[in-house]
Symmetry: none
DNA sequence: AATGAATGAGCCTTCATTCAT
DNA sequence: AATGAATGAAGGCTCATTCAT
């Protein structure tokens, strides 16, 4: 009967951000299904009602988290767009820079972990969001490949679709070991190796009689 | 009012296999968490008690499914072991053959889907099993890479670990589009493209006598 | 971040009346239990606190609504009081007039709907209020019946209590079809039919051999 | 962790019937909304799971209760069907008999109470079910009225629809005082009074100077 | 080997109400 | 007079698991 209000008032947005951040950590750590709303409110030191004041449902919270971080990522990756033919070294440097910079955000690491853990366990809405993100990423490579094939800089025998899948997969997997398995990876080296594999590797060698 | 036990008695193993097969489909389609024991027994046309006669728990069922299929896979992939230096073309052919052959098993497709959906959403036990499988697969490449690096056939600037992650990721991703997204992929072409990317791509160029 | 209090200040009573009117509509449409305070404040474009500024509780709001409208009804029906023996035709006309007049108030229709929907689903307080209203209405008839029985104008074989229940029921039911089922009923005709049934029907016929 | 099964096993149908009977009482007493599933399982001395083993939802339970009793009622009232012209006295007797007999079932009384409490507070599904029952009942009267109007035995100036509403209302209201208000009513007398009002009352009097 | 009624902890969600601002 | 973030009891429902038959 006696309702007590001992808690600090935050304005709506701050609470929301706080819940999202904490929830993302829990989701990433234990998985979405295994994280209960109770876990979340305990971590956030709020009560049930407060949670549902800010989010329509647990799923809604997940959506908000994903949308927010995905948008941030989209912004960051825009810069990688390679419409104009730049020298290879410049591209290398660009990827290296952007990659290194992103990897420094600790929130991002948690988000990547969440993303990779929960990619498939969900209704298509979620899956599609994450997937179209990766697809977007792939397109950058894909465009480059096709264009470069036309210009004779990349061998024509490879299938661009499969190749782009391959690239996404490579990126995902390395991210997986970094974010989920928490392996200490030298980020600079990792990026370079992957660029090496795909860029150098795909480039048609003058002296090579392909097949 | 007389309860009748009219249900066919299958000998234990057949029932077990039947449940596993049906459950695997359900897990692959709806996800492990979203598939209830009720869903399974309904599909299998048995009752609760019967289920727990064959499996200790729902988790136990998943384990059994994974163990069974993973062992089959291990057997199939043993042949890919490349201790002895074989000519590249032979290797190419080998991967191509094994891959094509595996892709024909419809049960395997379902299992791959399950594996890729649920890889991360779980307690470490499950994750480790699946992961060590992929690791095993990676090692085949990894060994080859390292050895080939020593022999001067593969560029030394790449990191073998990252490279093998990259390869696993590529394979996973293509499998994902095939099994989960159910895209119609030309398997032969896909395998060839990936071999092309990694094999040809990794080979140190100028002085190389291809094949 | 500065919270602004931009909302129009209505003087207390107007706000109160506005909330009551809107809430009555919602209660009538969705039922008391299924209408949340949130629904009400959304409709009234106010916030939680404002609501509780005007009403102690949701139940208090309902009480206020009922009291207000019930009092209006009492006023209107006072005129029907028949202490003095009036000629039948005059009575007929009176009921017809009062009924027709009442039915024209759209707010009343909503209130009737609410009353009939929620009569029983509640704690006795509410139920009693509504019920004593109907009882009051019944008494008008009841008095007339008894008096008329004494005067030999109404057959003595009927039970006045049951008869008055019967009359209330008849009125309620026709109101129900009108207000809740929203059937297009010719009000004049309906009133006349009911008067016919009860008045004409109950009058002892001189030439009639009763039973 | 330790699940204890101390409870007697009943076969499904008996449990179901037991729950329905107890729940009906609770619904009738406190109202559907104010009766929680917890209330029900406490009364039935079972646990949550057991409840949902037998009923899909709380609403489903209500539906089952209503369907069951409504069907029983339908059976009982079939006999009242008056296709063939029977003498008035015979009809009187028939109604009197059926009514008296029904009123003796204590479960029925509870059901009537429930029905009258919850008629309107619900989604149309429930409302329609109850309503079509009353409509069915009304039709019996309605048929008689129309036919009797044709045969010149009932005055033509009344509206059959309104008249049937009036009759249903009368019945409902008397039932209400009997079942909900728990008044001690002489059933025989009540039935007779209502028959008197409607039957005798409606009959056109040969020597009567109408109005 | 099979049955299926019973369990109960745990989940997500709603909502009337309070009170610091 | 008005705000709206916070409360927390209570609700309906799910589901893996057990065990008497």
């Amino acid at each position: 009967m006696t309702t007590q209000h001992r808690h600090k008032r935050k304005d709506g947005l701050r609470r929301q951000a706080q819940i999202m951040s904490l929830a993302m950590r829990l989701f990433a750590e234990k998985g979405y299904h295994s994280t209960s709303v109770d876990d979340i409110i305990t971590a956030a030191q709020i009560v049930k009602g407060t949670f549902y004041l800010h989010f329509k449902s647990k799923q809604d919270l997940l959506n908000s988290i994903v949308d927010t971080h995905l948008n941030l990522l989209y912004e960051s990756l825009k810069i990688l767009d390679i419409s104009l033919p730049r020298p290879l070294d410049e591209i290398r440097q660009l990827y290296s820079d952007v990659g290194a910079q992103l990897m420094q955000d600790p929130e991002l690491k948690v988000f990547v972990k969440l993303m990779l853990r929960e990619v498939m366990g969900h209704d298509s809405g979620f899956l599609n969001k994450i997937n179209s993100f990766f697809m977007g990423m792939a397109q950058l490579f894909s465009q480059y490949i096709t264009k470069a094939q036309d210009e004779g800089r990349i061998i024509k025998s490879i299938d661009p679709t499969i190749t782009s899948y391959s690239i996404i997969g490579s990126v995902k997997e390395v991210l997986f070991h970094w974010a989920v398995m928490d392996e200490k990876l030298d980020i600079q080296k990792s990026i370079n190796t992957m660029i090496e594999i795909y860029f150098t590797g795909l480039i048609e060698q003058p002296s090579k009689e392909v097949r």
